[in-house]
Amino acid sequence: DVKVTQSSRYLVKRTGEKVFLECVQDMDHENMFWYRQDPGLGLRLIYFSYDVKMKEKGDIPEGYSVSREKKERFSLILESASTNQTSMYLCATWAPSSNYGYTFGSGTRLTVV
């Protein structure tokens, strides 16, 4: 089974800090995604990547950036954390051969104070 590991389950950061959320997969999936999950809003796509060093904006990229230097790792960066970025962040992977189901990580609950 594909495993998607998010490095932190809970994080508390201060306003203005630069925050790194890490996601690592142990299979050779080309596509990786970052979503944020908020009550009543479901999951909203922040950024995704089709391959190393490739990235595309999702629906809500403002205030975020991403890095994909290696195929297995996809990092989400909050350049200057703000309180409205307090949320659950979910990483997911997908490959065309995976019968079209995402594999999700367990999530990182980020609180910005």
Binding site: N31, F33, G42, L45, Y100, G101, S106
Partner: protein, 114 residues
């Protein structure tokens, strides 16, 4: 614009009762359709998916869903709910040529009464 709507934010059913969770989508062509479940404190797990063919699809945990093109709907059903089904359920749509990018609904939280 592409969108997914789950009209019910919260549903409560009695254990043993039947369940139907609604999902409506707006898309330019026939999309790929999914239902995911998120138990408290857990990640999202795929329940079932529809790509093509038979419009009634079976999933895990006794769930099924029916694709109705005329109604742009993909409702999730279960004939008899168990207390362990209490969770949040998400409907999602996507297209293969968009590299797996999915659009999710707002989610429906299911509570189960004993």
């Amino acid at each position: 614009a592409q969108s997914v709507t789950q009209p019910d934010i919260h549903i409560t059913v009695s254990e043993g009762a039947s369940l139907e969770l609604r999902c409506n989508y707006s898309y330019g062509a026939t999309p790929y359709l999914f239902w995911y479940v998120q138990s408290p404190g857990q990640g999202l797990q795929l329940l079932l998916k529809y790509f093509s063919g038979d419009t009634l699809v079976q999933g895990i945990k006794g769930f099924e869903a029916e694709f109705k093109r005329s109604q742009s709907s993909f409702n999730l059903r279960k004939p008899s709910v168990h207390w362990s089904d209490a969770a949040e359920y998400f409907c999602a749509v996507g297209k293969h040529n968009q590299g797996g990018k999915l659009i999710f609904g707002q989610g429906t939280e299911l509570s189960v009464k004993p």
